[in-house]
């Protein structure tokens, strides 16, 4: 999966309130047994949750950052955010789909309808399309 992000020239960063030392131990003792070579991206430490707080994902009561995910474009603008309560894991396939859609939109100026996958029809916004989406897009 990481290779697919790499192929799209996407930088992945993970962040929790654990220290860098704990990240290293987690990599050595567990992650490297789940994934050959362990996780290849930088594992960042947000001790005290100050960064999580400004990203709206720090849970003061628990003292941890909950599952927030942000897509940032090459202009350094946040394009998407998704925040889940800790009990449910993310769907990396959906993340990949969103990155592809944002990259497509940025490259073409087109917009992508609900559930769009690469290769499917996109929409070209403009006066001519108003009221005529039904003609070009049939979900």
């Amino acid at each position: 999966m990481y290779d697919e992000f790499k192929a799209l020239d996407v930088v992945v960063l993970s962040m929790s309130t654990d220290s860098r030392f704990v990240h290293k131990m987690w990599q050595e003792h567990e992650l490297s047994k789940m994934l050959q070579g362990g996780v290849p991206f930088p594992m960042l430490s947000d001790g005290g949750g100050k960064i999580g707080a400004i990203y709206g994902v720090y849970d003061e009561a628990a003292g941890v950052d909950i599952r927030g995910r942000f897509i940032i474009d090459p202009d350094f603008v946040i394009r998407a955010m998704e925040v889940l309560a800790p009990e449910v894991g993310r769907n990396p396939k959906e993340l990949l789909r969103q990155v592809k859609a944002f990259q497509h939109v940025r490259a073409t100026g087109e917009v992508t309808p609900s559930g769009w996958e690469p290769g499917q029809v996109t929409l070209k916004p403009g006066p001519a399309l108003v009221g005529r989406v039904w003609e070009v897009w049939k979900p």
């Binding site: 960063l13 942000f70 940032i72 946040i78």
Partner: protein
């Protein structure tokens, strides 16, 4: 960036926020504590610096803006050695 000289405690800059406008004379300085969510879809990302563990590299300070010009996926999660 050079590898960190390792110590037990290494302060990092955390969030890097734009400087506040100067206060009028006599005004009470606001606290430096940042707890408000500032990240917004469609707005510039808030820069920060954090220490990182990077496989094959070791410990290194990482600034979000180091990756300006690339697509970035930033993922927060509750904790190492947990279950999901």
């Amino acid at each position: 960036m050079p590898e960190l000289k390792e110590g037990c405690v290494k302060p990092t800059r955390g969030p890097i926020l734009p400087a506040l406008p100067p206060l009028p004379a006599g005004a009470i300085s606001p606290t430096q504590e940042v707890t408000k969510m500032l990240a917004r879809v469609g707005k510039e990302a808030i820069d920060f610096e954090a220490t990182a563990f990077i496989e094959g590299v070791g410990f290194q300070p990482v600034k979000l803006s180091d990756y300006k010009g690339k697509w970035i996926v930033l993922c927060f999660y509750p904790g190492d050695f947990t279950f999901v």
